[in-house]
Symmetry: C2
Subunit: 352 residues, 2 copies
């Protein structure tokens, strides 16, 4: 699957900066919101950007690696939580509803057959990946299929008018998958990439680290071949998310990146198409050990740092009002001129 | 003026923690939102808290100290920005509107007479304070009057159904006022309390620091007498905010604290009635040098750190959706039991 992601054109850059600087506030006083307004203006190539049909895509899949005891939760929880999403009871339901985002749940590869539901997209590749401690998690054709289906989902939403996506996930075992992707793609020792996931204690963490080190040694991959790395360690939900991200960026949408697993998917996408980063807003720094290092690797400055480690897209949904605020101040604040407010005098003079 | 602020009763604490822990998420996975949910449940003494008529009170006043050249903006900007608030063009208008908060602008002591306006409360004490480089900023009776009027404003809103307040301010020169309050009340050298305000350069900052050091030396106050410190260095907008904060906490409302000046007002309020802190949520850490130290002094952990330094209540308005999210997850997320989701097994076992 080929994507053609290009950096936003820069011609409008100066005009955007001027518009931001002439709002009735001291220069730079809105901090990161000003950088966001500039970024979104560039993405949409307009001085008056707007978000249409903000949509949270939550990809779910099961992982063969759970056989190795890397999570304190049983695999059945993936399906149970997807049912919870479909019934409206999870954190991501609450936060997307609060912030007026659409929510779609994608069965990328859950080990359960769900009844049809208006919020469910069933594009299951297989009922879970294989155990990458023994063999690659998926076949290359499955990985390619996952990317393609993810791209199609994004494309369909864009056709309906959506121009901003949040990305989230559910999959017991998927912090293990993400840790391996991170280790190989960022070329960092696995110890720096492993965290407690849903809540391992010290012994559980040590076990998980040992297992993942073993898996990485077994496959001995070159980080330059992102598709092979994804095929080997990825979950179906991660691969499908990669496809959706690439498609969304190609179509010049804004991408809200969530936590550890979503950022791992973006690592893969950025390895394939580095220009995707121009379209990404990093919603938060998770409490999952390793996420901040992943963000550093991407030179990303997240909006929130409030100790979240839930996934599902919750960080992206919670950060969305800040992103919206960036667009709203750009569109709706008065300028010094329009509000007849005096500008700062030369501070040398005023301080004399 | 006497206030009687008491710590929320703790009987409901265990039940609240249980409710939070039984939501369908790993223990603690919503980070600071969980601590917020607990705090708000305690404030409202219920397992199902809700926010009613969230209201942003923006207090405005002018400062005699601007004669000493401590701001790069002319004093007229206070009145111009109040007019901007009343016309809906400022950042605080945009952000309160986005997040469904009511906005009230209080003329506590602006050097300008405004035409009547539905959003304006005219309770002006005087058209600006005196220059505290030469004499106390206000008379004690003015300070007491400001507290009383602030309390009355809060009381009136509470009578109309409001149970959560954001606090913001506007006043050219008021970072100088706040820096002096901080220095004396926190017993910190003025150099650690002074910042660039609306945008002083190095020379301007050095001048401001020199002026404020001089003022502090002149009055030579004891930090234990918060009313005298407020009378000497405070602005009318700050004093009025102190009164509103104390009244709101006495009535068991939730208080959203904004940036440097608002936190300085809270320093005064907390010196008068330390129990007020049980009712406060700290919205952000400002880029104004000194704010983080003030927050440390109060042992406060703010929600946002996105480089804001605008005041007006903008940080409080931007953080409000996170505070609302805490209440919403507590009320609307399913429990493990209600959603039939399996809980974590002992991780020792799973990791074996």
């Amino acid at each position: 699957m080929k994507f053609n992601i290009t950096q936003p054109q820069q011609e409008i850059h100066g005009e955007l900066v001027n518009k931001i600087n002439n709002k009735t506030k001291p220069l730079g006083a809105l901090g990161m919101l000003e950088a966001l307004a500039l970024k979104i203006g560039l993405i949409q190539q307009t001085l008056t950007p707007e978000f249409l049909q903000p949509t949270m895509l939550v990809f779910a899949g099961d992982h063969g690696i759970v056989e190795a005891g890397v999570s304190p939760y049983p695999q059945a929880v993936t399906a149970q939580m997807v049912s919870n999403f479909l019934q409206g009871g999870a954190a991501i339901n609450v936060f997307t509803k609060q912030n007026n985002m659409c929510l779609l749940v994608i069965d990328s590869g859950v080990n359960h057959d769900f009844l049809p539901n208006a919020y469910l997209i069933d594009v299951k590749i297989a009922p879970g990946t294989r155990n990458f401690l023994l063999e690659p998690a998926m076949a290359l054709f499955q990985c390619e299929q996952a990317l393609k289906r993810g791209a199609e989902i994004a494309k369909a939403q864009i056709a309906e008018g959506c121009n901003i996506f949040g990305f989230g996930e559910m999959g017991i075992g998927n912090t293990s998958s993400a840790s391996c992707l991170m280790s190989v793609l960022c070329d960092l020792p696995i110890e720096q990439c492993v965290g407690r996931g849903t809540g391992l204690d010290d012994a559980g963490l040590a076990h998980k680290t040992k297992i993942l080190a073993q898996a990485i040694k077994l496959h001995h991959l070159d980080g330059a071949d992102a598709m092979q790395v994804l095929t080997t360690f990825g979950g179906f939900e991660i691969a499908m998310m990669v496809g959706a991200m690439l498609q969304a960026a190609e179509k010049k949408c804004t991408l809200l990146i969530d936590g550890f697993i979503t950022t791992a998917a973006l690592l893969v996408a950025a390895k394939l198409q580095p220009e995707i980063l121009h379209y990404c807003i990093f919603s938060h720094s998770s409490n999952e050990s390793g996420h901040q290092k992943m963000l550093d690797f991407l030179q990303a400055k997240p909006l929130l740092n409030i100790g979240l480690r839930l996934g599902e897209g919750t960080g992206a949904a919670l950060a969305y009002p800040l992103v919206l605020a960036a667009v709203n101040f750009l569109n709706n604040m008065a300028s010094f001129e329009s509000a007849s407010v005096s500008q700062a005098t030369d501070s040398q003079a005023s301080a004399s």
